[in-house]
Symmetry: C2
């Protein structure tokens, strides 16, 4: 038998699908697959589905992995491998996910909050490889985050650290579904962003955005705004820059509190690209404390679509190695 590459299995646990990947130590993806989550059938079924995913990866690679990593939504007790009430997995309560997977495969299993896993992924394989400290931000429906300080993951008291999306940039600002006001998520989160775009669109009927969606507001997505901006549409450009600025305000506060002025930004909304990053960097640099300004960096995440499974696999290399 030929010598096999050492690899880790990464599980990206979502509400609809479970993504699975086999990642080598150098970050190469050796295998990738998807199974249904079947969340509505309860936690035992979801655990079975995860096991199927792991088994598929092991089968495809033809060798035993060095371990399994799981990026899970919700509050995760990483030390005990417990997942608590993930928002998109009904009826979970507290589940000892790590031990339930470990028992089946006799492998070390590491569970981490998905935003934290993404940060560890970028540190291990992506845009944070050469950074001693950085804050990872994932811009999607929600705005998640993870903090790497001196090559260590900052967990906080109960593994919940990194919720940069719920730093408020305006105490009297937009209501956020978390119950607070002015959270940066309430400006740059996907739904809030498209809602804001729709409101503005009413005053800019000639915007390319309107042409692209053919008047159908349901079709209004960050992708459409991005396309319109590329054609030079003023409203689209303004929306992207504004999104960047709001993000930048939160980044400045986070940089000041943590003395970490480096940021890695991923997730769907990060697809806005350079105009978003430039606006975020400018706003953050303008507002960060003086010693922070020259070190301020905003980088695009590198792992893109494979961020979930690679981040989960990185947990194994990071903690198990």
């Amino acid at each position: 038998m030929a010598k096999k590459t050492k690899y880790a299995v990464g599980i990206d646990l979502g509400g609809d699908t479970i993504k699975v990947g086999a990642t080598a130590k150098d970050g190469r993806l050796l295998f990738k697959g998807v199974v249904e989550t079947r969340a509505e059938e309860g936690p035992s079924r979801v655990v079975k589905q995860i096991r199927k995913g792991v088994a598929a990866a092991v089968e495809a690679c033809g060798a035993k992995p060095i371990g399994v990593g799981v990026g899970s939504p919700g509050v995760v007790n990483a030390e005990e491998g417990i997942v608590e009430n993930p928002p998109n997995l009904p009826g979970w309560g507290r589940i000892r996910l790590a031990s339930k997977i470990a028992k089946k495969f006799d492998l070390p299993v590491f569970v981490e909050n998905d935003a934290n896993a993404a940060a560890v992924g970028e540190m291990t394989f992506g845009a944070g490889k050469e950074l001693d400290s950085f804050i990872m931000i994932t811009l999607g429906t929600g705005v998640g985050g993870g903090v790497i300080m001196n090559r260590r993951l900052l967990r906080g008291e109960h593994g919940g650290a990194g919720e940069i999306g719920h730093m408020s940039v305006d105490y009297d600002g937009e209501p956020c579904k978390c119950g607070s006001r002015g959270c940066v998520e309430a400006y740059v989160g996907r739904e809030y962003l498209t809602k804001r775009a729709a409101t503005r669109l009413a005053d800019a009927p000639d915007s390319t955005i309107n042409r692209l969606i053919d008047g159908d507001l349901e079709a209004l997505t960050p992708k459409v705004i991005c396309e319109a901006a590329k054609t030079g549409d003023p409203l689209a450009k303004e929306l992207i820059e504004e999104t960047g600025r709001f993000l930048g305000y939160a980044l400045a506060s986070a940089a000041n509190l943590l003395d970490i002025p480096a940021f890695v930004v991923g997730g769907g909304v990060a697809g806005f690209g350079k105009p978003l990053f430039d606006a975020a960097k400018a706003a953050a640099k303008e507002r960060a404390l003086i010693p922070m300004k020259p070190r301020l960096r905003v980088r695009a995440a590198k792992l893109k679509n494979d961020a979930g499974v690679k981040g989960a696999a990185a947990l194994v290399f990071f903690r198990g190695a």
Copy 2:
């Protein structure tokens, strides 16, 4: 010779005076003194003054201390014991303060940013003794902070972590002297607070505050506001509650980012007492993420006037022990 108590010398380096204290491991203050800083004569003179302070403490205690701790303003490289450009000590540049003191006394010397030293002090001797993680906030002219996570001091990349005063609660808010807008310091810092009080006072000529200061706005201090509040003065009460709320908004953002919902608040403005803490706690609890709410605590710092020298001494017990 009688057996001497083990103690550490703590130096609280200020722009006008250098406070020195000898603190035993149980937090008892064995000796306390003050020497002039003589900052205008440059760093060599200041170092000499610090040495005088240390010598006085050693003399008074009649035994060698286990080490010397220094709480210094400005950016401190704690690992190398270097102090950089403290704002109130002109012409410093980068000074290897720890080695300059250590050479003279042949003792281990630990230098830390003064806000961080205060946090270590509260953890070791004060309100943070039983807390695993907490954020220390010192409300004075500036609003300083220090973060203790799992009984470790969070330093960030260059020892500057903990600047909670420069978290913005309103991206379009009050200009802060740091160059940003809406920093919590621009609402609750001593000068901003008294300025706000003065503006409000113009519309409330009957306020007890006015009677206490006899119309002299120069005499308007947090202490006066506190006294007026005790007599039931509505404006004074409102100012204190408002200060608490602004503080609470920043606490919620910090709690969410760090997963640390416990706060220890000290400094002169903390003299507002319970009404301030209650308002801060209520605002923070209302706005923190759900898992944080039941754990949210705001406590008064315990070290009060001796916070500086005890915090500095705590550095020795914390890092040298």
